[in-house]
Amino acid sequence: MTKKKILVVDDEREIVTNLCMALEMKGYEALTAFDGQEALDVARKEMPDLVLLDIVMPKLNGYQVCRELKKSETTKSIPILMLTAKTQESDVFWGKETGADEYIKKPFDLADLLERIGVFLEKKEQNKK
C-alpha cells in the first residue's frame, strides 16, 4: 500500500519540520510548503491526501489557499485542517466559510492532531468506495 501524502504548510519552518517528523513516524509521506503560493503549487502537482494549513502567511494567506483548493474539481475533495494561533470566532467563521474541514488552535495537541488526521483519511477512503 502506498503511503498517504500529507502537505504541511506554515511559514514557521520549525513547525513544519517538527510536524513532518511526527507524520513520518506515523508512516505518512510529508510534503512541505512555506507560503500560500507554494502550497497551491505543491497541492496541484502532488495531489496530497490531506493538507495542514496555517493562516497568516506571505503571498497568499491560508483562507485564500483554502478557497482556491476547494473551488477546483480536482482538489476540492482534499480535507483541509486549518492550524492557527488566531482564535477569534470570526476566524473560525472565515475558516468554515472558505470550506476548511476543521479548525485547530495552536498550540495543538500532537496526539490529538494525528488522531483527527487518521479520522479524515479514513472518511475519505470510505467516500471513495
Binding site: 514557521e12 517538527n18 511526527a22 482564535t87 495552536k106 498550540p107
Partner: protein, 373 residues
Amino acid sequence: MFPLEQHLVKKIVCVLYIEDNPNDYFLVKRHLTQLMREEGEIEYFNLEHSDRVSNGLDRIAKGGIDIVLTDISLPDTSGLEVITRLRNHFPMLPFIALTNAYDKSLGIEVIRQGAQDYILKEELTAPVLGHSIRCAIERKKLEKMKNEFVSTVSHELLTPLTIMKVGLENLSMGAAGPIMPKQKEILSSVFRNIDRLARIIRDILDLSRLEFGQTMINRVGMQLTPLIQQVMTGFHKKEEEKNIIIEENMSNLPDVFADQNLIIQVLNNLLSNACHFARTKITISAQTVGHMVCVYVIDDGPGIAPEDQKKLFNKFVQIDRPEGGQGYKGTGLGLAICREIISQHEGKIWIESDGCNGSQFCFTLPIDLSKGI
C-alpha cells in the same frame, strides 16, 4: 478673525451631549463656543444633542461622533447604566460623564466603569471642558494601542510555544530514541506548563477582546437548564478526582437572552473554581428575579473573606489557594472574564460568603422578552 488657512487646519471634533436638562446643554454649548473663539485653540467643536440614552446610542451608531459627554441621571436609564451601555456598545469611543456635586463619589465609579473622565457640573468652565475632552480622546487612543499591543504579543507568544510543544511531543513519542520513565515524568511536567502558559495567553486575549468589543456576541433566546447540564457533564472526571458531587437544582425558568458560548465560558470558569475549593458538594440553582434570571453556583469550601471579595473580580487575583499540587492552576483572569461577559449581557456578577461556610457566586441574565409579549 482667523485667516482662512488657519481655520482650515483646525481639527473638527464632533461632540455628542446626552442630557435631559436644556440649561445644562446650553451651558456646554456656550463653553464650547467660547473655546472656539479663543486664539490658539486647535479644535472646531461640532456639538450635537440627545435628551435620552436610547436616542444618543442611535445617533452614535450612525457614525461621525468623536466624543460623548453624558449626564448620568437620565430619564431612560438608572444609575450608571448609561456608562456601561456606552462602553459595551461603543468600546472605541471616548466619553466623559458630567456629574452633579452631590454625586461626587460617583466620579471614581464612573471611571472604573469605563469613562475617560468626569467633570462636576458646578466646576464646569470652558478651559476645564476643553482640557477634559482633549485628555479623554488621547487616553482612549492609548487604550487602543495597549489593546493592539496585547493582541500582537499574545499571538507572537503562541507561535514559539507551539514549536516547543510539537518538538517535545516528538521526543516523548520516541522520535529520538526510547524515553525512560523518569524522562517521561519531566516531559509531562513541561507539557502541563506549556498548556498552562497557553491558557494564560488565551485568557489575556479573550479579556482584551471582550474589553474592546472585538468578541462576536451572538445573543438569542435560550434555555439555561440544558446548557448548565451540558457544562456539568464536562466536570464528571473532576468530580471523581476530587471526590465531590456537582448537582443542579433548576426550577422552571423563562428563556434568557444571551450568547450561548460566552455563558458556557462563564459556567466553566465558575465551576472549575468551585471544584477547586469545594469540600464535598457544588450546587447550581437559578430563580427569576424581576426581569432577570439569577444563577447561583454554591460550594461548601472555605469561603472567601469579605475583604477579599471585592478584589476577586480584578485581573490576576488569586486568593489563598489551597495547595493544588500538580492539578489545574487558574490564570487569575477567569473571574475578570466572567465579569466582562456578564456586564456585556447587562447582568451583574457577585459573590456571597461569610468567609468560612462556602461561597455562593451569583450572576444575572436578562429574560428573553422577544416572545411572549
